[in-house]
């Protein structure tokens, strides 16, 4: 038993690697990612589509398809090795220590149970309380996420709610057991623009109020800047840059992060999605040798094709994975 002290990070991920067996052969969706997350800290995870953001989140909860997935590395949550948890321990960890808000609330709710029942069910499961107490908690949560006439909404089926309300209910569900870590995987991409902003503001407010650590996946650099303490930029299954939100978003060090930010610097203001850098992200089944970004990188040197750059420090609490990082960051 490792004693867990308050100074240790809440979550500590080391060399997390996730592989999938696919029809087109094995792929490495996550390649040795490492990061720490403190209590109450908000980490923004950004990167193009397919860079492995959702896989990271799902690996943290171990909800990837068992048969096709291989996971290695370590995930320590309060010092406990998540990858070593037995089935029962895992079930008490999920939803209780760590909860997730899914991208599509309409797909993440069971369509044939009421929203109230689904929240209450989770509360009963983890808090071993009565159903009455659990429903009371569900009501309290729906009020907390400011769903109007929450009491009658308890009896609503998911299809009877609007998209925005459904996502609020999903947030209520995720927070009902007071998790220490909240995983929000693009929680607003399925919503209308005006509703998006409301939900983001609500999440930020709840995070401040309840103080749970949060990993927030987004395409939207503006949102990442707004909500995160730190930011990690992912590319082709690797974290290419990480640091405080202010540093990374103001002066990105990695060429990919630079490209990503410059292509969205205006869009970010308007809350638009990340635009692509010239070229395409690599095919995970057919990765380029060396740095995965080198084929698209304007600053690539022949050597970039030979080594996979390891994250290196580029200032206090900042790291970037680029062999040219010194010259680029200068």
């Amino acid at each position: 038993m490792s004693a867990f002290t308050a100074r240790e990070p809440l979550l500590s991920v080391r060399d997390l690697t996730v592989g999938f067996k696919t029809d087109r052969g094995p792929i490495t969706a996550l390649d040795r990612i490492s990061f720490d997350l403190g209590r109450g800290e908000v980490l923004g995870l950004i990167g193009e589509s397919g860079s492995g953001k959702s896989v990271t989140m799902r690996a943290l909860l171990r909800i990837l398809p068992q048969k096709r997935t291989t996971i290695s590395g370590s995930i320590l949550m309060e010092g406990r090795d998540v990858l070593a948890l037995k089935r029962r321990e895992l079930a008490s960890y999920r939803g209780n220590d760590v909860a997730m808000i899914f991208q599509e609330p309409s797909l993440a709710f069971d369509p044939v149970f009421t929203v109230g029942r689904q929240i209450a069910e989770t509360v009963v499961r983890h808090k071993q309380c009565s159903w009455d107490a659990a429903y009371a908690r569900a009501l309290e949560m729906l009020e907390l996420v400011r769903i109007p006439s929450a009491k009658s909404r308890l009896d609503n089926y998911p299809h009877e709610m609007s998209g925005g309300m459904r996502q609020r209910a999903m947030i209520a569900l995720a927070l009902a057991c007071s998790p220490k870590l909240l995983l929000a995987d693009e929680p607003t991409t399925a919503l209308d623009a005006t509703v998006q902003i409301q939900v983001i503001l609500l999440l930020r407010e709840l995070q401040k109020e309840l103080g749970m650590a949060t990993i927030f996946v987004t395409h939207d650099v503006g949102v990442a800047a707004e909500i995160s303490d730190r930011v990690a930029v992912m590319y082709a299954g690797r974290i290419v840059e990480m640091g405080s939100a202010a540093d990374v978003l103001k002066s990105p060090a990695h060429p990919y992060a630079r490209g990503l930010l410059s292509s969205t610097i205006h869009g970010a203001m308007a809350g638009e999605r990340v635009e692509a850098i010239p070229g395409m992200p690599p095919d995970l089944a057919n990765m380029p040798s060396g740095c995965a970004f080198s084929p698209r990188c304007a600053m690539a040197m022949p050597e970039c094709r030979n080594v996979i750059p390891a994250p290196a420090s580029v200032g206090a609490g900042r790291s970037a994975a680029c062999i040219r990082v010194g010259s680029v960051a200068a």
């Binding site: 799902r58 909860l61 909800i63 895992l90 079930a91 008490s92 960890y93 999920r94 939803g95 209780n96 909860a99 997730m100 899914f102 599509e104 797909l107 993440a108 709710f109 069971d110 369509p111 044939v112 149970f113 069910e121 989770t122 499961r125 983890h126 089926y157 299809h159 569900l173």
Partner: protein
């Protein structure tokens, strides 16, 4: 009563009427004088006149239909040509046998089908799944009469465990022995089809995002299983309902193979003997049972999936 139930019942009424119309027209589409079909060959003039008046054969077709319908609704289906007994009592007697056999076969098909299907769906792609699928395909593709005869050869002729045909002397536990082979034969096809459908449904439901979300909430496997069942139930019920309807129809062959004195055998006899009133009555009753079964499915389904209450 919830509005949707009233609605479904209201929808079933025209269907039942259409069914009755077809049964009515059977007599008039059959070649020859309808009267000669309705009456025994040796009927005297008084009977002929009485019947003519009763069925209003001198009146236009719609009026005749209305009269016939009134008779049917009041329980008068006419008289069997072959036996001279009222068709109603013939059907009632046969129906007791048929419903009992169908009930046992239904339970068998339902239990085997849902169990095998659920297991195969949960362990999709494993050896268990392959075995279940093989069983299902056999059930679906083996013809009734062939399966029936094979069972008789094995269990009656060779092993001498069970009677080959008939229904025994009286209503007693002994009669169950007579029902084993016909029930298995009758249940084979619905069991196969239900297995396949339930397997596909369960596998499909398990692949849904919300199941991952349920896992992410830390629910136990048993709790998640309940969610899967409630989601798969409405479609499964529809398939099962239709299959049980077909099972009633399948009993025609099976009852003939095993000489089980139910509506199937009755229908068979009626066809062979051109006993039109009996045929008409039996078809009408069987068709109405089918309609009722569908109505039941329509009413039960929304209890599992609230989205179906609309529309």
């Amino acid at each position: 009563m919830p509005v949707y139930i009233l609605k479904r019942v209201a929808y079933a009424v025209p269907v039942a009427l259409a069914v009755s119309m077809i049964c009515f027209l059977l007599v008039h589409l059959a070649p020859g004088d309808p009267l000669s079909l309705v009456l025994p060959a040796d009927a005297n003039q008084t009977t002929i006149d009485a019947t003519k008046a009763k069925y209003g054969l001198d009146q236009p077709l719609p009026a005749q239909y209305f009269l016939w319908l009134t008779n049917v609704v009041s329980g008068d289906f006419g008289t069997s040509i072959a036996t001279g007994r009222p068709v109603v009592s013939e059907i009632a007697n046969a129906l007791t046998y048929s419903l009992l056999l169908a009930l046992i076969a239904s339970v068998l098909g339902l239990v085997v089908g849902t169990l095998l299907g659920t297991v195969a769906g949960y362990w999709n792609g494993t050896a268990i799944d392959k075995i279940a699928s093989a069983v299902a395909i056999s059930g679906v593709s083996l013809p009734h009469y062939w399966l029936g005869i094979v069972l008789v050869v094995i269990f009656s002729v060779n092993l001498n465990w069970l009677p080959a045909m008939g229904a025994g002397e009286s209503w007693s536990a002994e009669r169950l022995k007579f029902m084993v082979l016909p029930a298995i034969t009758l249940a084979a096809m619905p069991a196969g089809i239900i297995t396949r459908s339930v397997r596909a449904l369960v596998a499909d439901t398990l692949g849904k995002e919300f199941v991952t979300a349920l896992e992410a909430r830390g629910l136990t496997q048993t709790q998640i299983f309940l969610h899967v069942v409630k989601n798969a139930a409405p479609t499964a019920i529809a398939v099962i309902g239709v299959q049980l309807g077909y099972l009633m129809a399948g009993s025609i062959l099976v009852e003939t193979v095993f000489s089980w004195p139910g509506t199937g055998l009755l229908l068979n006899t009626a066809i062979l003997q051109r006993d039109i009133p009996l045929l008409q009555g039996t078809i009408l009753v069987l068709a109405l049972i089918f309609v009722a079964l569908n109505l039941l499915v329509d009413i039960v389904q929304p209890m599992f999936d609230p989205r179906m209450k609309r529309g």
